[in-house]
Symmetry: C2
Subunit: 340 residues, 2 copies
DNA sequence: TTGTATGCGTTATCAG
DNA sequence: CTGATAACGCATACAA
């Protein structure tokens, strides 16, 4: 059998409640007994059972991170490791663990639903999700249960706590940068109408154009699922217009890669003939030829703030909901640095 | 208060033990009572408390994944997401959750040590680590505790279960491929003497050279921490030798990127003048110019096997330790496809 | 087939 | 300051 609190109590000649108090460093235990009991615990190589502690304290010290593993190329996947490290950096010091759970959006069988599996079964004290997973109904339910959770990704609607990057400002930054390099015919490539991420980014782009007194050209619109293929096909099309754009803002690196490929095939010089800037700086952005000007988001920070917010909400339930907007950072590289 | 098994028992007019048996689908409960009790559970929106279940069953249904977040560019980090999805795909269906825990190799304070924090405190039923984290002492201790664990990465020593890729065969495959493209002066770039990963890979390379009757040239040795800088500096040096190599095998993509940069600066044509092949295919390997021939390892599979193995060992403690060697796959791209 | 009693290992509430 | 004793919510051997 395993060694329990009772064994320690017997060995120390005290009640198990005393041992418990020593474990929790209760102020009403004398220093002597504390050191004595602790020594015995060490001698007997005792570690309290987290199962029992959790049941007694009605607290798991565990945070759940919800991800949809079926979404192959979801927005934040490439950054997942950093996000996780960020979360851990915030919750670890507060003694919380991180449990990563897969939610299959497909099979929504009642019984396997994460609300039941994780929240109602008390497997976790708090939840971190992202806005593409969290449905309004689930948010509503979490609210009813007064369960602490945070969304990574803006959740404008009701009273939901979230952290996100300022995508609108991001759109403005990229546009402004291109304008400063005296590009004036800027196209925006990728993204589906109605998609939150796209809307914000496009909005920033549109605003900045308007501020510069430039028109939004409909013939330069290139919408669609933001992948390499889209970038390739759309840029081929755009460059063959009578009046082609002189620069691009891409929804992500994949689109930019496709765009670059198209430009090369057509013989268009980047950046002199065509400037390319993109959202979502990835590890290899700097290694493309030419290196891509891109918008860096500090995903470690994103995770850290999310972790901070859940644990805050766990420990101070009276806290009001809040939204936190982090600022991106533009990294200027050759793909938009005109030499003329 | 929360609704418990007792509430259900009362509402159904049965003993709570009966409810418990219904929960566990015991064969000695009549079909009628089962359906009746289940209906009531649904009506009352009851979910058993995992805390209590765990304590009673002495089982957590939780697997721990140990990672060292301080190691910035560890071998498997870029592949972390895939590995995790692989693990989840294996353990999820068996009803295990995954808890990711950070281990700071730096502060080895007794109390925060994962053996105490996770294993001895019974926070998890099984452990997945990688061989760069798992020290022989810890392995020994886990063995003593008869605790189920699996190492990702070969652990040749004692009786440790592990999964890994066949790095030696990988070295042979890359070498063989270069030979088949009639490269004959193959250098091996990156890796530190004594490092397990390097040894295996280099060994495969050396064997294949020997099999082809080619010498191991000491002046082509380029050892060191496998990063871009090393690739750049070493290849600059190599290409200025009287008799430079005509092709390279790089320890990873970073090294290859550095090598490529050096080749470009010197004006050496890739692949005609210099063939470049590398270990560890990464998402962007195909997007480098020229696209890199590289050795792909299916990290999802790695994770899936690891997950499979731990759960197997949890459920069948009598199982013997085993090592599993997965085969890599070579992806031939332009960087080694000679046009002459 | 169902119910009773006890255990799982800790914490918390009281007395003393 | 310390010690009984009752939770915490479920599982299980044994009795009925």
């Amino acid at each position: 059998m395993n060694i329990t609190i009772m064994d320690i109590a017997r060995a120390a000649n005290v009640a198990k409640s005393t041992v418990s108090k020593v474990l929790n460093d209760s102020p009403k235990i004398s220093a002597e007994t504390k050191t004595r009991v602790r020594q015995i615990m060490k001698d007997m190589n005792y570690t309290p059972s987290s199962m029992a502690t959790r049941l007694a304290k009605q607290k798991t010290y565990n945070i759940g991170l919800l991800i949809d593993m079926s979404q192959e190329q979801a927005y934040l996947n490439p950054f997942f490791y950093n996000i996780m490290v960020g979360i851990e950096s915030a919750i670890g010091p507060r003694n919380y663990d991180l449990t990563v759970v897969n939610i299959q959006t497909g099979d929504a069988q009642e019984e396997r639903h994460y609300l039941k599996r994780l929240v109602m079964s008390k497997r976790i004290d708090g939840l971190i999700t992202n806005n593409s997973i969290l449905t309004p109904e689930d948010a509503e339910k979490l609210e009813q249960l007064a369960f602490p959770y945070v969304s990574m990704g803006e959740y404008a609607g009701t009273s939901v706590s979230w952290v996100d990057f300022d995508n609108e400002t991001g759109g403005r930054m990229l546009t402004e940068h291109l304008l400063s390099q005296s590009y004036t015919k800027i196209a925006f490539i990728g993204g589906v109408q109605g998609e939150r991420l796209f809307s914000k980014r496009y909005q920033g782009y549109a605003e900045q154009l308007r501020a510069a007194g430039l028109p939004l050209r409909e013939d330069w619109e290139a919408r669609g699922i933001a992948d390499e293929k889209l970038g390739y096909l759309e840029v081929k099309r755009l460059l063959e217009l009578n009046e082609p754009p002189d620069s691009l803002i891409c929804m992500n690196n994949q689109v930019a890669l496709g765009a670059l490929k198209a430009a090369k095939e057509i013989g268009m010089q980047v950046p002199d003939g065509l400037g390319i800037a993109t959202f979502d700086d990835e590890p290899y952005s700097a290694h493309i030829s030419p290196p891509l000007t891109s918008l860096y988001i500090n995903t470690f920070e994103l995770g850290a703030h999310a972790g901070q917010m859940v644990t805050d909400r766990i420990e101070q339930p009276e806290l009001r909901h809040q939204g936190l907007l982090l600022q991106p950072e533009i990294i200027v590289r050759e793909s938009t640095t005109r030499r003329i």
